[in-house]
């Protein structure tokens, strides 16, 4: 059994660690390229959303290289993600690939059941350790990302933050025990400390809301965070992988509470959950205003249903709470130049707004 899974930001590092600790042979799909996109697009239904096409491309490339077991997610709607696996499986089978596809449904009981499939010989203790290590890696990656988001727009020598990020990825990927993850954490924090920051600058602060795949996958969002940092803007993603796992999979109390608060906040604008993250996009627009952010960027794959609903309501929210919102929908034709221009215009607007009224011309 050679296990593979889709890419989404740092997800592959976490899953690679998990499955190899469970004793499986792992094949990480080749890094995403235009080729992945073309491959996925060619065999997908035309109007399906981009993550479907990209993950299909990942699977095809991984199967070509010898993987025979695909692990992916299930779901129960109403967003399309929950039905990806069923359709992708058929498409791949039609193309003649031989493989097993395991769709993990987002509840713990189902996850438990699948474990016996992947790790028949492992004791519960070993399984627990595999999960702990994967969790520790995920948390470290996310913590460093959060730190870097603050450092990036303030660094003196451009590229310093990026260098630390690359070191983080490599080091975390290689770590084989929770102790070494701890050691790496200490080491990395030191490196972050050492990055020289420009004094007296206060960058604009933008929160990114929207769909998680686009938010977390730099290949798709075209390095949104770095791009904004280059314009001197600090970005804060409203959701990282660890938030997703804790909130949706483990249903941690604090996250459930948080979701309740967000729903209440969004209620005057959107009175019911519409799948995906549509409701949160609206709620965060209001919340981030209260937290003194300068603007909101909503990102999502073109035709994503929950986000399209949010998009059609956001202008009203934006007007009511006086918070500028930029909406970016990504598909396989999205060009880098187009996005850049729109970002620049948005940042100009935010700069203008942030000046005291007297200084505005």
């Amino acid at each position: 059994m050679i296990v593979t899974f889709p890419h989404m930001g740092t997800l592959s590092i976490v899953l690679k660690s998990l499955f190899s600790q469970l004793g499986c042979q792992v094949l990480v799909p080749p890094p995403m390229t235009r080729h992945t996109m073309e491959l996925g697009t060619q065999f997908s239904p035309e109007t399906v959303c981009l993550p479907f096409k990209m993950t299909l491309g990942n699977f095809m490339e991984a199967l070509e290289q010898g993987a025979d077991t695909i692990v992916t997610c299930g779901g129960c709607g109403p967003c399309r993600l929950g039905y990806y696996a069923a359709v992708q499986q058929k498409i791949l089978a039609e193309r003649g690939y031989r493989f097993t596809m395991i769709a993990i449904e987002p509840n713990l009981i189902h996850v438990y059941k699948q474990l016996k499939y992947f790790a028949p010989q492992k004791s519960w203790r070993e399984i627990y350790h595999a999960f702990r290590l994967a969790g520790a890696k995920m948390n470290l990656l996310d913590d460093i990302q959060r730190e870097l988001a603050v450092i990036r727009p303030r660094e003196m020598k451009s590229g310093s933050a990026e260098r630390v990020w690359r070191q983080t990825v490599t080091a975390v990927d290689l770590a084989e025990s929770c102790q070494s993850v701890q050691a790496i954490r200490a080491e990395l924090l030191e490196k972050l400390q050492a990055i020289e920051l420009a004094q007296g600058v206060s960058p604009l602060r933008v929160a990114v809301v929207g769909e998680i795949y686009v938010m977390l996958e730099p290949f798709i969002n075209q390095n949104l965070e770095q791009c904004l940092a280059g314009m001197g803007v600090e970005t804060s993603k409203t959701m990282l992988l660890s938030d997703y796992v804790r909130g949706h999979l483990l249903r941690r109390r604090s996250y459930v509470e948080m979701f309740k608060q967000l729903s209440a906040m969004a209620a005057p604008y959107l009175g019911h959950y519409v799948g995906g993250h549509g409701l949160k996009s609206i709620a965060y627009t209001i919340l981030k205003k209260q937290q003194d952010y300068d603007g909101i960027i909503q990102v999502y794959p073109f035709t994503c249903m929950p986000e399209v609903i949010a998009k059609n309501i956001l202008p009203k929210v934006s007007q009511d709470v006086d918070m500028p919102v930029l909406t970016l929908a990504y598909d396989e034709q999205t060009g880098e130049a187009g996005i850049r221009t729109r970002l620049e215009a948005f940042v100009d607007l935010l700069r203008y707004r942030s000046k005291p009224a007297a200084a505005r011309v």
Binding site: P45, G278, P306, N312
Partner: protein
């Protein structure tokens, strides 16, 4: 004076309209319908960005009713059967309308969510009744009477009549809205085709055919369309072709279309997908329908 309640002739109206109309009348309201979709409805709806054609149509109907009624009947239909949703756009529709149509009369937007508990419907019925000053018994009674009407109006199953048989499947609010579908059904009939629609398949058969899928579709609309399409293709009566009518931005249909395409290919049934939006040119659709029927007739002669 009776309270005037506006019911947009869009989306769920095509499945539940007559029932809702009777129900509201039974409660003592005066029902105002928005009438058939027109070119103007479509133009009005196009302010919505990236939304599917049917939601734009709904928008247009609401704009029309906006200043003609005391209340707008826009229940938030989240789920009509266990374990399923309608579709995110239907769930969020009333909010999108509220924040995009200038001035709306008060909405009757009670939630109907039968995903976990089917009796939630009765709660919804009772709360609507209360708005019109009706008690629980009277409201439920009005509902039961309205629902009986629906049972009596189930369409008949067609028997073979020698013409080539083509199944035309899609959301009822696309198929039966003549402006939206550009009257695909009528045109095929004129081209000498016996047209079969999802409504002609009994719900039991829809479910049985849908159960052959890898995973149950969690959108009730998609479930019905896919189930009916599969039932028609796998049924023991011959089928000469299948046309899937959809609109560009429909989320669930991207998958439903793929399911239909795969099955049709396996069974060697000619299959065509017609994707519509407000800019679709009538001439183009006519040409495609003609080409498709010609091809089917030719195949039959072989």
């Amino acid at each position: 004076m009776r309270i005037r309640v506006g019911v947009p002739q869009a989306l769920m109206y095509y499945q539940y309209g007559p029932v809702l109309e009777r129900f509201l009348t039974g409660l003592g309201a005066e029902v105002v319908l928005s009438g058939e979709t027109s070119r103007q409805t479509l133009d009005c709806g196009s302010v919505l960005d990236e939304m599917c054609l049917p939601s734009k149509v709904c928008f247009g109907h609401v704009c029309y009713l906006q200043d003609k009624v005391d209340y707008l009947f826009l229940p938030r239909i989240i789920s009509v059967s266990q374990g399923q949703y309608t579709c995110p756009k239907i769930i969020g529709m009333s909010d999108v309308l509220k924040h995009n149509v200038g001035k709306l009369p008060p909405l009757i937007d009670i939630h109907v969510n039968m995903r976990q508990k089917s009796w939630q419907l009765y709660q919804a019925i009772v709360s609507v009744g209360r708005l019109f000053g009706q008690g629980m018994a009277a409201s439920l009674c009005a509902w039961v009477r309205a629902w009986q009407y629906r049972v009596r109006t189930q369409p008949q199953v067609l028997t073979l009549d020698g013409r080539p048989r083509v199944a035309v499947v899609g959301h009822p609010y696309i198929l039966y809205d003549r402006q939206v579908s550009l009257d695909v059904l009528g045109r095929l009939d004129k081209l000498g085709i016996q047209v079969l629609t999802p409504e002609m398949v009994r719900p039991g058969e829809v479910n049985k055919a849908a159960a052959t899928l890898e995973k149950r579709l969690f959108w009730s609309g998609g479930h019905t369309t896919a189930g009916a399409a599969l039932a028609l293709m796998l049924g023991n009566q011959p089928l000469n072709g299948i046309i899937f009518v959809t609109c560009f931005a429909c989320g669930p249909d991207a998958f439903v279309g793929e399911i239909i395409r795969q099955q049709a290919q396996r069974l060697d049934i000619p299959c065509m997908q017609l994707s519509l939006d407000e800019h679709t040119a009538e001439a183009g659709v006519v040409t495609r329908l003609e080409a498709f029927t010609d091809m089917i007739k030719r195949r039959r002669r072989l």
